[in-house]
């Protein structure tokens, strides 16, 4: 089960995160922390006319938290705030194990984290980026 979790998609995003960098001109930012793990990320977004035009994160944490945040940004950049929040809901559903196959397709590479639903201890690692995104977008509204 965990073998599948530490698959190529997750490893690639962990080793070579595309969206892990400073973001010039960000319109909002928020720090997300998992106190018990020490996972700590700062998520920055550029939101223009209700659309997430750019985003990046920095910080440290386990492979699950880092890869999940990177995959998330890949998914939400270019989407509207509503779409981004919808994807967050889908991701939560996937982790809770209640997602349909159709919905799973919408999550694209984030589907690589589906097995986290069987690992209670790692749920908050996978959710960190998404939780931070939700707070940020709802605060920004």
């Amino acid at each position: 089960m965990e073998n599948e979790l530490y698959g190529q998609v997750l490893l690639d995003h962990n080793m070579h995160p595309f969206h892990k960098h400073e973001l010039e001109g960000a319109t909002c930012s928020h720090e997300g922390i998992n106190p018990s793990c020490g996972d700590d990320i700062v998520l920055k977004l550029t939101v223009k006319d209700g659309v997430v035009t750019d985003g990046a994160f920095q910080g440290s944490g386990c492979a699950i938290s880092q890869a999940s945040a990177d995959i998330m940004l890949e998914l939400v950049i270019g989407r509207s705030v509503e779409e981004a929040l919808h994807l967050k809901d889908l991701f939560s559903k996937m982790i809770e194990g209640t997602i349909t196959d159709e919905e799973l397709e919408e999550l694209d590479e984030a589907g690589a984290l589906q097995n986290v639903s069987h690992m209670p201890a790692r749920v908050k690692c996978a959710m960190l980026g998404w939780r931070t995104l939700e707070t940020l977008l709802k605060e920004d509204e």
Partner: protein, 406 residues
Amino acid sequence: MNKLMSKADFPVFEKYPSLAYLDNAATTQKPRQVLEAVDRYYREENANPLRGLYGLSVAATEAYENAREKVRTFIGAKSTREIVFTRNATESLNLAAHSLGRVFVSEGDEVLVAISEHHSDMLPWQGLAEERGAEISYLECSEEGEYTVEALEKALTPKTKIFAIAQISNVYGRVNPIKEMAKVCHHNGTLLVCDGAQSVPHIAVDVQELGADILVFSGHKMLAPMGIGVLYGRQELLEKMPPFLTGGEMIETVTLCGATYAELPHKFEAGTVNAGGAVGLGAAIDYINEIGFENIERREAELTALAFEQMKDIPYVHIIGSEKAQEHCGIITFTVEGVHPHDIAALMDMEGVAVRAGHHCAQPLHHFIGIPSTARMSLAFYNDEQDVEKFITALKGLRRKMGYGE
């Protein structure tokens, strides 16, 4: 090899024969002798101890008090009045801070706590300091996890009423010089509270030789069931301390205005006690005594050295604390370059190796050493060379699994 020094008596390994259980500092597995003793107590001797006037309650009381006597002998206390049963070391430390603090700490006084302490030996003191308007300060250790008596002497002031420190840190695994520290503390009029959660299960401890005023430990880290712990305190000290929890079975008389409290140690054991747990702890002590600390210490040192020497040779593995295996007492905390501790634990789990990851309830220490989290392997005498080899093999495979070249 001594049969008792193997996994043969531990039923959990019948269910998981290939599990390398290396999280003994969190809790140990239980031998059948302990499980059977608890089972026998509930089958044959169970009633509410200390209360009943009928035969079965007397039997329950005897079973409970026999366990107390075993603990007394085990740590060399003068009297069973000095042995208080609690739920665990955490509850013991809360008792100590709450009760000792009320009597000995006043506004403007100081409480000194070792910086590597477990949260359970830090938060109660922080709470006490706040409640009493006292100052809390921290004694720092070296990068190797060493505390010196000289540094303690410097840190003590005429106002330091309590010094709290573990005999063995759950991160460093290093034995602290409690005996010498106690002398310095007593010379200064300071009480020494010692957390023995990691030491009492692994090295021979004699409270009179140690000199600590209070010593606490948990049963579950030394083969006994969860939910039974001990607070040892010098009798004259315990007599001065007010009760921690109040309620049933800890009073002499109760009126609408108050109560006079029962004698030691019952004054500190409010409510129905965990007699089954105490019986289990008694059986655990018998088990440990049968092996003998000489053998336990030798075996654990052997296994620690076997793991340590191999870990030292892996360039991307960093060990926290001393560079000497013999200063790790079965606890090796480490990091792996490029692999987060949670990933270490998850990947090792896939190989059937159980290790802990995180801050090990010692977050201030992790801040102090500038590492947010670490992984920890911790041994017990029933581990074997195969466990260590499995761990080392898993350790060497980690970076490859995370996508690094090696």
